[in-house]
Amino acid sequence: MGDLTDPFQFEFFVRGMVAATLVGVLCGAVGVYVVLRSLAYIGHGLAHSIFGGAVVSFVSGISFYIGATLWGVFTVLLINAVARRRQIGGDAAIGIITTCAFALGVALISRHGQFTRDFDAALFGEILGITSGDLTVIGGVLVLAAAVVFAFWKQLLFTTFDSDVASTYGVPVPWVEALFSLVLAATVIASLQVLGATLIAAALVIPPVTARLLTDSFTRMFALAALLGGASGLVGVYVSWFINVSSGATVVLLQGALFAVALAWAVARSRWPGTGSGERLAAIEGAAID
């Protein structure tokens, strides 16, 4: 039994596990809105674009977190504005704006030459290198996201479902969009150290889509996505210790496995005649929440 508790004697490991759990909850919950707006790749793009913001703030000497957050909010608002033009889809808007923001970072690096430090972590994540300062930031962003989602639950839901009609019913849509952009940018920044740019997309998309397969209710989808994200963060990092695989990759592979199970189950369910949809729904909820 000693083997299984082995990793807990290392503070850096415990910190990594806590960070991965919090980031999993955060990305799962925020990802619900991302997925329902069909902006699946925004996480991936944003993570790269924030790399540009990181370099810019480094060069201009302002704090990484402030510089990158402003940069990220600006990028999301720009994506929103471009995607609203009917000729350009959301995916193309993400592609254009985030790659340009990334390229700007690369250009600045090659011009200033001397620093390669830290940016590797931003691209690939370094769960076991999390400091208690990082953990504070992650906790702070989680509290911010929770507060925004709680206080603006209805406005966010209405805007995500149908922003035009939401404005007719009095929802201040531009403000809601700006607030959501802030939360999304902060989420990606807080997750960078843990998952890295390449894995953030997965953490934002896989748990919400898995949750969508399991329920037709928005509230349940939200709760399930946060739960699946957090659980896969916790279990993924723990397991990675024993199988000696990169923790970020293990977390995402675990999420992928959960998705595959949910998909198989959803397919099986749809081929299974004779169960009423009400009973099936009850069965899903029982299985998913217990």
Binding site: L36, A151, K154, F161, T168, Y169, V171, R212, S217, F218
Partner: protein, 290 residues
Amino acid sequence: MVELAPSAPGHRPPPHPDGEPLVELSDLSTGYERTPVLRNVDFTLRRGEFAGVVGPSGSGKTTLLRAIAGQTRRFAGAIKATPRAGERALRLGYVPQVEAINWNFPLTVGQAVLLGRWREMGWRPWPRRHDRELLANILDRLGIGHLANRQIRALSGGQQQRTFLARALIGDPDLLLLDEPTSGVDIKTRHEIMHLLGELNRAGTTILMSTHDLNAVATHLPRLVCVGEGALIADGSPEDVLTPEVLRRTYGAEMLVLRRGDAIYVVEHLDDAMTGESEETPLPATPVGG
């Protein structure tokens, strides 16, 4: 013999020429992005009215409704609304065209309807007892009380229309804007929806609805607006508006208008042999159109 006067609920209630103006469009040009879709529209809707908007596909029916709902771009002219005493904005109930709704969204009927009350629900994300009672009442009144936990796709066309009608009604609107509320439903459901709207109107709700259905819907409304080629072609009672001349200018096609007492019947697809004949032409054995 074809029945000329399909029994309509509240068969053509009187117009309200004396009601106070609720919405006034004056010389309004409105549309999307760069191009106005409707030009120089003058249109006043008075409290208590029940008006219909007809016109071919792409003529701007939806645009007219969305302009009043504040969802379009204004190029010139003005929209003036008169809210009820003590309120800053008109309370609108907007029911979008079926095609405009994202049916895959994970929303249950209850969740969708409560969006219409987001403001009155206060800061809580969840509905209070009063909200739930109101929800139950309105769903029961529309005959979909047993469907509160169904996902919005898993409904019949009539049930879907009622769901979004419920979302509009739960906010206690001054003005109901309905975009083709009778499209895609059978005769009986159409009859029920029109009956319901008639009742709401008699109880004081002002209604503006678009429709493609000249005979079963438009001829029974007290007031009709014809939209064609981006402008209002005619506005008045069905007797005044439904003439071959106006219909030709609205639809760009020859149509026959038959009158029997109070009833009006528009024959929508004429073959060559029938064009140009007088209004006394006996009806064909099988009615066409509708």
